[in-house]
């Protein structure tokens, strides 16, 4: 547990993730990336730790939210680095982990 930094979208951000950008509405993917994901990602890279993101506990995700949050992170730091540091956890919707990995890979294209 020591070499991992944990982020829970439901507990640390919102149980109702919203649209892609801040202009589109509250609890956007952009807000999640800027306020939660990116600072924790940087911390994980600096301390050479894994960043574990728990996707469970929310009412549901829109595709834009996930693309903006994780794809946006990959556009900034590169897909390879993000895939190396990030670990996705979901018991409720395990298929979203695959979707997110695709967003991260597609971000570099």
């Amino acid at each position: 547990m020591d070499n991992k930094i944990l982020v829970s979208i439901a507990n640390d951000f919102s149980i109702t993730p919203g649209p892609r950008s801040k202009e589109e509405g509250k609890f956007s993917g952009e807000a999640f990336r800027l306020n939660i994901l990116e600072p924790k990602f940087k911390e994980a890279v600096e301390k050479n730790k894994k960043l574990v993101v728990n996707l469970d506990g929310v009412l549901g995700y829109g595709t834009s939210f996930l693309e903006e949050a994780f794809g946006g992170l990959a556009r900034q730091y590169g897909s390879e680095k993000v895939l190396e540091v990030l670990e996705l956890v979901s018991v409720e919707e395990p298929y979203f982990a695959d979707d997110i990995i695709n967003y991260i890979k597609d971000a570099s294209k």
Binding site: G18, P19, L59, G60, G62, E67, E92, Y95
Partner: protein, 220 residues
């Protein structure tokens, strides 16, 4: 004795056919044994038709024959019961898929009838149906009704994901091309193009569900 037999048979009339047959055979064997024991105990069981022709009962052969017959019926009955359970399981799961198809169609049509709605309404409904589909597919796989991670189920799951994408995806700043839904204040405005695309995907989804049901029925 015949009367007793008839009464017992009448009492068994409402039971399943396999039960009747087993009871009838057991009764017949019982009556046969009773008669044999009765005849042997009086030491007068030697029936001769002509001088050189006689009917002789070998007690052990009769027992062996009776036990074999009883076992045959018992095994047949057990196998049929197992088959019935499997058929019942398949029917229950196929019915769940049919209910899923009907409910999903109704919900999507209702969502599409609104030109504008909260984004969370779409995402929560889609989470509900994607999770339910996952559970149904897992159950079918566990009971070996469909192959694990088959192309058929992957296609079906993909269709639901596509619908979620059509109804919730907005362009990124890096990739503003294409036509998408519009989101403002957390509310989604669905345009005619997205409605048409969603309907097309919905019909593909129904077809995929139908194919999965056929596959499940083949597993008997």
């Amino acid at each position: 004795m015949l009367m007793i037999l008839l009464i017992i048979l009448k009492m068994q009339a409402n039971k399943p056919p396999h039960d009747n047959l087993l009871h009838f055979l057991t009764l017949l064997i019982g009556v046969g044994f009773g008669y044999l024991i009765f005849a042997l105990s009086f030491n007068g069981f030697n029936f001769t038709i002509a001088k050189d022709v006689g009917i002789q009962f070998d007690f052990f052969q009769v027992v062996s024959l009776a036990v074999t017959a009883w076992l045959a019926v018992y095994v047949l009955r057990r196998l049929n019961k197992k088959d019935e359970f499997k058929k019942m399981e398949i029917k229950i799961l196929a019915d769940y898929f049919i209910d899923f198809r009907k409910e999903f169609e109704a919900v999507i049509k209702e969502l599409l009838s609104e030109k504008e709605m909260p984004l969370i309404l779409i995402t929560s409904q889609m989470k509900n149906y994607r999770t339910r589909l996952e559970m149904l597919v897992n159950t079918a796989e566990q009971h070996k009704m469909i192959e694990k991670d088959s192309l058929l189920t992957s296609k079906l799951k993909g269709k639901l994901y596509d619908i979620l994408g059509i109804l919730t995806y907005t362009p990124s700043k890096q990739d503003p091309e294409g036509t998408y839904v519009t989101v403002k204040n957390g509310n989604v405005a669905i345009h005619q193009e997205q409605i048409d695309k969603t309907y097309a995907k919905l019909y593909e989804t129904q077809r995929s569900i139908f194919e999965v049901i056929i596959e499940i029925n083949k597993s008997t």
